[in-house]
Symmetry: C2
DNA sequence: TCAAAGCTGTTAATTTTTTGACAGGTCGTG
DNA sequence: CACGACCTGTCAAAAAATTAACAGCTTTGA
């Protein structure tokens, strides 16, 4: 028996580029482009063509030598690889400001992640309607996960409750957690977690801002001589 | 003249870990821990101690051989490196659901990024108050950036307007843009952009979910034999 | 028909990042 | 004091990712 199913032993860096490829390809498709070469696609994403071909090679390639990629074939192929050929039923846990914002963010649906429920413990929030999804009591969560075959949970609860909620989600059969709480979650090996840490993002930006400001100061000093 | 100011020529992967170090250290500080060894800190973050020391080495090291790190010294040192020793004045551009959620997310202030203004073109949103910050007309933006010496803009406008707004921000002297629009922004070399793409995050999660489900299916089949 | 231009899949070379190893320094204890 | 346990800074080795190179296929146009 092989360790991993075909096409699953792929570096993280490549996985993170797949959505970018798909996004750009959908854009091309929308404006009627039929064919696209690795160079065209790569340049529009500011990466090297060889890297794109190398990435695709993990999945066996999507064309044959001599012919550019066909957008109409590439889009569904990537969707299948990413796992969104069929809609991936999802829920939002935590209906605070961020949870509400995400519930209102219709793109999630469009991208293949229909929101099958929003849950919170706060009675004041229960019943609020976001684009058709009504906030329910957290007690209903397990039932909805089961009934709707929910696979992914978007976690926007306060950090202190994140682990407890996670344990419930895992027990209920959730396979992927998109975690917005600034906290490392403990999960079994057969559950995937993706941390979305705002703080990391803005701090890494701050680092670069600091460097830019330092450099420009230095430059000014040099000019003052 | 050297190419880059000291401590700015650091790999991205290291930069992305600095906020994690800082976060964990603040946590330790809060519970009264005074000293921490590279191994303790690294293990709590699920990385290798040698990597942590290697990361710190880019900045000259924060202790001396034989002595563990002192939390009280490390925290301000990292804050200085990241560039948040002094508050980094920031604004939010786009007061839609996501902009509102971020405005309500007090952590930004706490982490060193006080929000000096929220801007939108929609008259219905202007005047809304989020934790003391009132939504203003986009016409006021440049004036506020100038007056408050704003360095970072958090961009939550629709993708179609993102580039136009970016051009205005750059012209007004913004140095860093935290971009939530699903779009690549064109900026001059002396402006830093950090893209926060929800779609990339949830799709990379989806990929792993797909692999987990495939593997478990395979396992079940094997057991059925 | 032939050459030129352009393309992919694939492998090799290069670069970058991570990990390991270790020379010394420090501390607590007997 | 001497020993063992533990520590950091540093550099070398290993692993991983990116980039380059190229064989061979396809189309176009003279």
């Amino acid at each position: 028996m092989r360790k991993q199913k075909k096409g699953c032993d792929v570096p993280d860096a490549t996985i993170l580029r797949l959505p970018l490829y798909l996004e750009k390809l959908k854009l091309l498709q929308a404006i009627g482009v039929e064919d696209v070469s690795s160079r065209q696609l790569a340049e529009s994403l500011d990466i090297k063509a060889s890297q794109l071909r190398h990435d695709f090679h993990y999945f066996g390639g999507f064309s044959r030598p001599g012919r550019p990629y066909q957008v109409a074939k590439l889009v569904p192929a990537l969707e299948k690889i990413i796992g969104i050929a069929e809609p991936v039923h999802s829920i939002i846990v935590g209906a605070g400001h961020l949870g509400q914002a995400l519930a209102n963010y219709q793109n999630l649906d469009v991208q293949g992640f229909p929101i099958k429920g929003i849950f919170d413990v706060n009675p004041k929030l229960i019943g609020l309607d976001f684009r058709g999804a009504v906030v329910q009591d957290m007690d209903e969560m397990e039932a909805v996960i089961d009934k709707e075959a929910v696979k992914i949970a978007i976690l926007t609860v306060p950090a202190v409750h994140a682990q407890a909620v996670t344990d419930r989600l895992v027990a209920a059969g959730i396979v992927g957690i998109f975690n917005f709480a600034p906290m490392d979650l403990k999960v079994p090996a057969n559950v995937a977690v993706r941390n979305e840490r705002m703080a990391v993002g803005i701090m890494s930006l701050s680092f670069k801002v600091k460097c830019i400001l330092q450099n420009s100061e230095e430059k000014e000093e040099a000019e003052d001589l």
